[in-house]
Symmetry: D2
Subunit: 341 residues, 4 copies
């Protein structure tokens, strides 16, 4: 059993990670940490998440600076479900020992430091770590993940978007000129577990935000290798993301070619499902899958593909665990596939 | 036109009041105030409530101490949609001139000072005002409201509960021994417009709270003249209250007697509707009505009545305006009935 | 007072029309009709819509063939809130007298008979009427509407989409090559008042449908004068549409030009609001407005505009009434603007 | 491995059962059946429930009369997730061989044939089976269930209500005179998977129904051994039941006594959780637990207890499986407890 802990375990993503790890055959969830000043320090995880009563009555331990330095030698695997700033600050310490680190924040996702500074509001000061960090799009970068010391687990929107777009890009089917248009709607849990007026029950209602400037746009573009237009929306549901991607394909591209592109990418992939109908949010919420369905108008060369994930699972915790599975030699779907049952 | 203003206009109740007054034929909405330190001071009401764009582009003016003292002579009618503490502190000043004050807070609802202190957490220091304040249950206390200087507009739960219970009590149909059981579910807007974890979108889910100790229990009991058991719940909807009231009637009471009790109370009342089916929240949300339906088991003497209101309207703003209509000689339903269309 | 009736009054759109007409200063709502075999025939409108109890206790009269032939001479104005097939069949009879007809179905929206047959599944057999019918996009076709005998009130999605796109097209700002991409999410009421598994509460969840083949696509294209990609989605809310439109503008087009295009189209329009923030569904639900907000990336020439309406109001009943206002010489916003209060 | 099948597998309860059985270590889910005329016959379960794609791609086999007679000898365990009428008709055949039958319908819950006929609308014609059927309240009747041939799995409301009330009754704490008052709110899935206007998305809104006459009232009373008042409500959520139970205790009963009553009933029970705060629906939705919390006013002798379950799980499928666990010698919580993770 690999010894693991979660830093930042009080948030929605941390809690999902804890639940996944508690059932995993190969990882032992040994400790949960929160930042030292957190008002949740000392509580049980099940105090915050009543559904875990009797199952995850583990304390949320405050993480002192001293304790922090010990983690790297104490654990085989550390999940960082922390704010960008904390991950940026702590990653060097946490990777100084035997531990492998899965960082669920945005601190190590963007290789370009200028773009990072523009979209995250502070300068990156860990150039070597940033250089070595592996982008943890688990269904695509298994080989690199297998060697990684620090994995930058992708954002929720990029996971949904890239799962839809990469097969088309890799197979050279996309028109050179037109930028893919990604419209995505996320459940409110994407905003995290916190008191905020704009995520209060009475204020939430379907709305675009971060238009032509969201930090997940450069993440998608960098990984895809081409520009995209990405428009996120807040939806009135708790969890899930539906991304609707509209692209122009090259002249003459057929449905059969598109079908082959997706099949070659995902046919034998246990965590991406090529669906025969348009996926609903509720069909993936609470699961670790990414569901895809598409339609091509061969006459005009327009292709629409929708991609659905649970933002907290495939868009965060489950993808982090999928990376960990790969890194430690378990089957990628270990502890993940049966979540849908 | 009576000159009116709203103090505490940035909250959900204040906004509803503004909308009602803007269409009212007899009241002129001349100003909106917020507390001096409010972060909303200087904004337009439509900045906070996008739906009012172009209709209520009125500024939220910070209310200084100086300005406060002028209101009593400047306005005919002042609505206080403020916290209990503010209403308690300001009511004396605001009633010192010609103005009539409609207080939507709990500051003047409980005549018993000991009970007040126990349920509101501070001692009442306005005994004379408290004595003179009229409890603004508009469908029942028209005569007193017509003379009032200060009206304590009832809470949302008491409005729903009392509208259901008073006809039975007044007609002497209730069993002497058994306490009426009130179970009520409120929409989240009852918690006000604010950032709070327990009213954040992802945390809200049907749940009891304030069991055997909510401050609306003594308010109901005092007005009804007998003890009740009141159990409030938070529901996963934005607005509305459904109160389900279960009572034991005296031996031999018939359905016909119950029917007469409700008919005599509300048959000619424009704002209470005796429905022929069980009311839904959505049938009253956005309206100024209280809808009632009941069923009696003559064998066992148990009666169940459900009462539905919009917590922000009949449970707050619309009832305040109904009181104002009565106080200033308009028809009680003026500016209210057509809201449902 | 113009004498009006609604045919097909039992559906969600018919009910909204009834509510709007009941408050309108210039139209008298004299009768509500349903098809002869309807199970709602003989009921009151308020039996179906409890919120209208006491306000719209009007009977739903079964419409016999005999009665149908009288309507054209009996009424000044007839609203058809009927299925496409019924409107197609009845329009000739209803326009044979003095009555002006507002048809809310799709029967007369598409001038091209081949496209009509392909998307509606039957051949159009009223060529003359189809030729003369005026497309009732009320904010754009006032002059023609003023003369119309039969108005084809636009679909809900086209209203949201065209309100966003027409100013750009009219001012010649759109790139010639790239097709505008319209992603729209509709509330479930768009599916009508009926028992159906896919609109049952437990089955509804955000999902695309009708991809690259919805009948509103040719309607938008025909009116806009260029091809578009239109992807509708079902959302988990009762009413409202949010359309997110992504376009490429011509090289060199500036934000100032876009601003001018929208201002010249809507600055003095009472029913379209140019918002300063991204509109939410809840800000237009229950109102008769279309709310717009946009952002241009001048570097890449991509523009995103979102458009929000209530699908049952601006997307149906309110637009029909706006057309009627124009047709009978009332202000376009008469009986509509104050709905938001 | 015990060989099992589900009859009536296309409904919400059947689908939940399939998911639970697919992960269970001791039961093999060998077949899914639907009635012969079902429009779902021949489809895969995952065609109806997209979330099960790749996990439960099992066909829904039409159940002919011939096939029906074979089941009793072919299977060790049969789950009947069928309408009352079908269970009533088929139970004799299905119990004629080695198979144990878990019936999730109401066909065998009420021992009194007169009451059955009144509440179910037809005469019971299986008196012997009815006599022998064991009421499957799994946390209470383990001994009888261990011997049962036919288990009548309780209704969802009775499960929530009885779990709250039985400890008080068993310990003799309830006042003799006053009837317990049960107010319960159920998610819409309780109405089953079907097209119906009153469970369509736009029509659902919190509302009482079946007042003083719901068929679950006599079921609760019979099992509890005393009369109760039971008022069900439909809530605007997909799954879960919250029952709020208000009782009068005998004079002098203390909180300590109540605490002991609940502890002795459930302290070592793996599927009932005595919570330290008021349970929310979302804390039990998707889990197999019943969560309880209570408060006593020692002065007045009133006790309020709330009980929360997932109506499809603890209120149906999970309780059926808990009974099966007991019947076949597995731990009661086998395959159930970890569902919450």
């Amino acid at each position: 059993m690999m010894k693991t802990c979660i830093v930042g375990a009080s948030g929605y993503t941390g809690a999902e990670l804890a639940a996944l790890l508690a059932k995993h055959p190969g990882f032992e969830l040994a400790a949960l940490f929160v930042s030292q000043g957190s008002q949740d320090a000392g509580k049980l995880l099940s105090d915050l998440y009543g559904r875990f009563t009797g199952l995850l009555d583990m304390p949320l331990q405050p993480l002192s600076q001293d304790r922090l330095t010990q983690l790297a030698t104490e654990y085989d695997l550390i999940f960082l479900a922390t704010p960008h700033e904390a991950s940026h600050e702590w990653a060097a310490t946490l990777t100084a020992g035997k531990a492998v680190v899965m960082d669920l924040s945005g601190a190590f996702r963007l290789k370009d430091k200028d773009i990072f500074a523009r979209f995250y509001g502070f300068a990156h000061e860990q150039p070597a770590l940033l250089q070595d960090a592996v982008y943890g799009l688990a269904d695509w970068h298994g080989e690199k993940i297998r060697q990684a010391k620090l994995v930058a687990v992708p954002g929720c929107y990029p996971t949904a978007s890239l799962t839809a777009l990469k097969p088309l890009q890799v197979c050279g089917l996309l028109d050179e000129q037109q930028w893919p248009v990604i419209n995505a709607v996320s459940g409110v849990s994407g905003a995290g577990r916190k008191a905020a007026l704009n995520s209060s029950f009475c204020e939430v209602s379907l709305q675009a935000y971060g238009v032509l400037g969201h930090r997940h746009q450069p993440e998608i573009s960098a990984e895809l290798g081409r520009q995209v237009i990405f428009t996120p929306h807040l939806g009135n549901f708790k969890r899930g993301i539906l991304a609707t991607v509209t692209v122009k394909v090259k002249a003459g591209v057929t449905a059969s070619q598109v079908s082959d592109a997706y099949a070659s990418a995902y046919q034998s992939n246990p965590m991406v499902r090529l669906r025969s109908s348009w996926p609903k949010i509720d069909e993936v919420a609470g699961t670790c899958y990414c569901d895809l369905h598409w339609k091509l108008d061969e006459n005009s060369g327009h292709l629409v593909v929708t991609s659905a994930i649970d933002n907290l699972l495939k868009g965060a915790a489950a993808q982090a665990l999928q990376c960990a599975n790969i890194r430690f030699g378990f089957a990628p779907e270990s502890g993940l596939a049966e979540k849908a049952l």
